[in-house]
């Protein structure tokens, strides 16, 4: 499979952190990962969209926590002993933004062989278009590489305006 068909660079595929969400294996580049936290107390933000889990205090800084399970139509699962928050720093158009991402379980730092990474099939996927950069294989499972910058810009930030009127 040639790399030109997927939007991930070879470098990005070398250092990934794999985590579980809704029974699926997901991955984001370690480049954007700042730390992994045990879930602190999270303050709900009323009237915010479904992707907003609330706000948390990371050493004096208020960081929004996002829950991407609704986006991928995954069932909700209460926090348990394996739940972690990935603190990620995203470079968005408006500057760098720090967010927390709910992960049901964090596996490991891994790398994917670019040869095995494939683009998302255009039909038959239930997930919103272009939220996944590519699908690779790791330990006999499919790993979905999330395009977080795009997700943040198109879904997380945009979700609130509609809910406000309710």
């Amino acid at each position: 499979m040639s790399l030109s068909l997927i939007s991930a660079t070879e470098d990005e595929l070398k250092d990934l952190v794999a985590f579980e969400m809704g029974g699926e294996l997901m991955a984001v580049p370690t480049r954007i990962l700042r730390e992994v936290l045990e879930p602190p107390r999270i303050t709900r933000v009323p009237m915010a969209g479904v992707y907003s889990a609330g706000l948390m205090n990371v050493r004096g800084v208020v960081v929004p926590v996002t829950d991407l399970r609704p986006l991928f139509e995954m069932p909700d699962k209460p926090f348990d002993i394996d739940t972690r928050i990935l603190v990620l720093e995203l470079a968005l158009g408006s500057g760098n933004v720090t967010i927390g991402l709910i992960a049901e379980k964090v596996h490991a730092v891994m790398s994917m062989d670019p040869e095995t990474v494939q683009p998302v099939p255009s039909v038959g996927t239930r997930w919103p278009a272009q939220t996944i950069k590519g699908i690779g294989r790791w330990q006999d499972r499919f790993v979905n590489l999330i395009d977080l910058e795009r997700v943040a810009q198109e879904y997380i930030g945009a979700a609130h305006a509609d809910d406000e009127a309710a």
Binding site: P46, V62, L92
Partner: protein, 662 residues
């Protein structure tokens, strides 16, 4: 040659000077006989010239040299302040600003303005070089054949950034080919004691007669305090006897020359008050840290309250007091009065009157109202736009005003005042006002609303700020500069404020910018709703009452009850925010003021008032404008800060209340 840092120092120094210069010029227009102002203008120009020359702005210095000469003529009584002089001076001022900003306007403008300046001062303003020099020479007899200058700079001169070579170069430039420079090395210590960074050399410079004393002294204008300097004219033999006493006076010491300058009022402005310039980032840094301190302090007092140790409590109270004082001082540093930007509006009003030919009085009220500096700076552009619109589109011309039975001169008022947790800044004109029907038609024509849409007055006026709406019948020089009223709206909303428009057809319009006192720290009231906690600015709270029985029954998000014999709209925060958790036995109603309306917020419990450090919401939540930010509580949890005005708006209660009032 000039590095960025030097450039920045120069910019900061000149900024204050040109502001002061413009203010003085405008003030002088009103009181032409005020000699103090003339001196002020002269002083500002002189310092600008010196600073400019020092930083290598040769063209600027040369131009100001002639500008200064015009005011020298006024100061010496050879000319008077006329409206023409002010008009030309303001244009000259503009050129200075352009030159300072590093633009490169056409060279002939310099000459043009120089000629105009000299014309309005009745040709009494030749190049200052000659204007200055005769004063000095006239007092003594005998031909001056040249100057002998001896100077010694302070030892730390180079450490503080001085450059003696540049000074010598400057002197050679003044004196031309006839200049002789001789180093005096008597003061040099023995080689073993010599520190290369210290300055021990003195110089004797001989300059030809055509160098002016003022120019020579100008070279040292920023260092005179610390250095030794003597400047003696070399006179032809017959007059040497007469010249001698004068030489003695000049050589005496710097005190004499200081006195002379004080009398001239030409140098060292503002030595009375010591000021420091600090970069905004550093202030933000301090503010952040004070914020952290306040959070830590809240945590400490939480802990101390649990431990019930009197000694600890005493220390905690002490720290509390100190943190509070530190917070107030830090905040005060950031607060800037409106007067810091009103100068440019005065100027704008002056220009607008000239361009439109409409005579009007420009009144500024509440100049002492203070706002955060960053907010004030951002307000400048929207206000310029509103002001321009008020004069261009609002005010009628003289004939129309007389025909309508109004005062001949229009009035435009810019006012600023506090209102609860907000600051209101309004621009009011007594012009023709806004025509709701016309706006409605235009909005329909532009496809902004449906033809049969029914809008309230304020909704109709709000259409003015929609992108793509412009009522300017024709594009004038003043409007159509690419800044629409929609920009006003977006700028103000970015500052979490709102714009309100009120207008009476035929009587005038008022544009009001309502801005929150967006300070990094506010006094907040913390309240509990179900399991969750929210903060509102204490300044917005009008009172707290027990919830009446009948309010506890319903569960609609909003309702109206009678409270203290008044109907009050109530918002049940539990329902509005969808909170869960146990209901308190003694729930409360928090009465809050927003604009002209009073709203009650039904909550479960009041926790207390706290120092609240506002943390901006990330871009992910910033579109959710019912919360102005978040804060970290004493126990480390995050609580949201409610923006009362936006919350009321989101529930449509602002219109509800107005309908009731009507």
């Amino acid at each position: 040659m000039i590095d960025a840092e030097t450039q920045e120092i120069f910019r900061q120094e000149t900024e204050a000077l040109i502001e002061s210069l413009q203010d003085a010029l405008l003030e002088l227009n009103k009181t032409p006989d005020n000699a103090e102002l003339v001196t002020q203008v002269f002083r500002d120009l002189h310092t600008l010239k010196g600073t400019g020359a020092m930083f290598g702005y040769a063209r600027l210095a040369a131009f100001i040299h002639d500008f200064e000469a015009a005011f020298e003529a006024v100061r010496s009584g050879k000319s008077t302040v006329t409206p023409e002089l002010i008009a030309v001076s303001l244009k000259a001022y503009d050129l200075i600003v352009e030159l300072l900003e590093g633009e490169d306007p056409p060279e002939d403008r310099d000459a043009e303005l120089k000629a105009a300046l000299s014309a309005v001062t009745k040709g009494e303003a030749p190049a200052a070089a000659q204007a200055d020099a005769p004063d000095e020479v006239a007092s003594s007899e005998g031909e001056v054949e040249g100057w002998t200058l001896v100077f010694k700079l302070p030892p730390d001169f180079m450490e503080i950034g001085g450059n003696p070579i540049a000074m010598l170069d400057e002197l050679i430039e003044i004196g031309g080919e006839g200049t002789k420079v001789e180093a005096l090395t008597d003061g040099l210590p023995a080689l073993a004691d010599l520190k290369p960074s210290e300055m021990h050399t003195a110089w004797r410079v001989t300059l030809p007669a055509d160098a002016s004393e003022a120019d020579i002294r100008d070279v040292f204008m920023f260092h005179e305090d610390q250095m030794e300097l003597s400047l003696e004219p070399i006179r032809a033999a017959p007059s040497s006897a007469v010249a001698a006493p004068e030489v003695a006076v000049k050589a005496e010491d710097k005190a004499a020359s200081d006195q002379k300058q004080a009398a001239q009022g030409a140098k060292k402005p503002g030595t009375a008050k010591v000021q420091m310039r600090v970069s905004a980032e550093r202030l933000d840094d301090i503010m952040d840290r004070v914020g952290e301190l306040v959070i830590a302090e809240a945590r400490l007092s939480d802990l101390a309250a649990k431990l019930e140790n009197p000694d600890l409590m005493e220390v905690v109270e002490n720290i509390q007091r100190l943190a509070l004082g530190l917070r107030d001082t830090t905040m005060a540093i950031r607060m800037t009065p409106m007067s810091s930007i009103t100068g440019r509006f005065q100027r704008l009003a002056h220009d607008l009157a000239g361009k439109t030919g409409k005579d009007f009085d420009f009144v500024i009220e509440g100049e002492t109202t203070e706002l955060d500096k960053t907010v004030i700076e951002k307000l400048s552009d929207p206000l310029v736009h509103i002001l321009r619109n008020a004069v261009d589109h609002g005010l009628e011309d003289r004939e129309t005003r007389i025909g309508a039975g109004k005062a001949e001169r229009g009035t435009v008022t810019l006012s600023a005042r506090y209102s609860g947790a907000d600051v209101l800044i309004s621009v009011k004109d007594d012009g023709k006002g806004l025509d709701p029907d016309f706006i409605h038609q235009r909005a329909v024509a532009r496809g902004l609303i449906e033809e049969n849409a029914i809008l309230t007055r304020s909704e109709t006026f709000a259409l003015l700020m929609e992108p793509g709406f412009s009522t300017a019948e024709k594009i004038t020089d003043l409007s159509g500069r690419g800044v629409g009223t929609d920009v006003v709206k977006s700028t103000v909303e970015a500052l979490r404020g709102s714009v309100e428009i009120e207008s009476e057809l035929g009587a005038g319009s008022t544009f009001t910018l309502r801005l929150p006192l967006t300070l990094a720290i506010i006094e907040g009231l913390l309240m509990q709703v179900g399991d969750e906690r929210f903060t509102i600015p204490l300044a917005a709270v009008g009172g707290i009452v027990e919830q009446p029985e009948d309010l506890r029954k319903g569960s609609e998000p909003t309702t109206v009850i009678e409270l203290r014999e008044k109907l009050v709209s109530i918002m049940r925060l539990r329902e509005v925010f969808g909170c869960s958790g146990p209901v308190n036995e003694h729930p409360k109603v928090v009465l809050v003021e927003t604009g002209d309306t009073q709203i009650g917020l039904a909550v479960d419990r009041i926790i207390g008032s706290y120092q609240t450090v506002i943390k901006q919401l990330s871009p992910m939540h910033s579109r959710l404008n019912v919360f102005s930010g978040a804060t970290i509580l004493g126990d480390g949890d995050v609580a949201l800060i409610i923006d009362v005005a936006q919350l009321v708006k989101s529930q449509g209660l602002d219109n509800l209340d107005k309908e009731q009032a009507a």
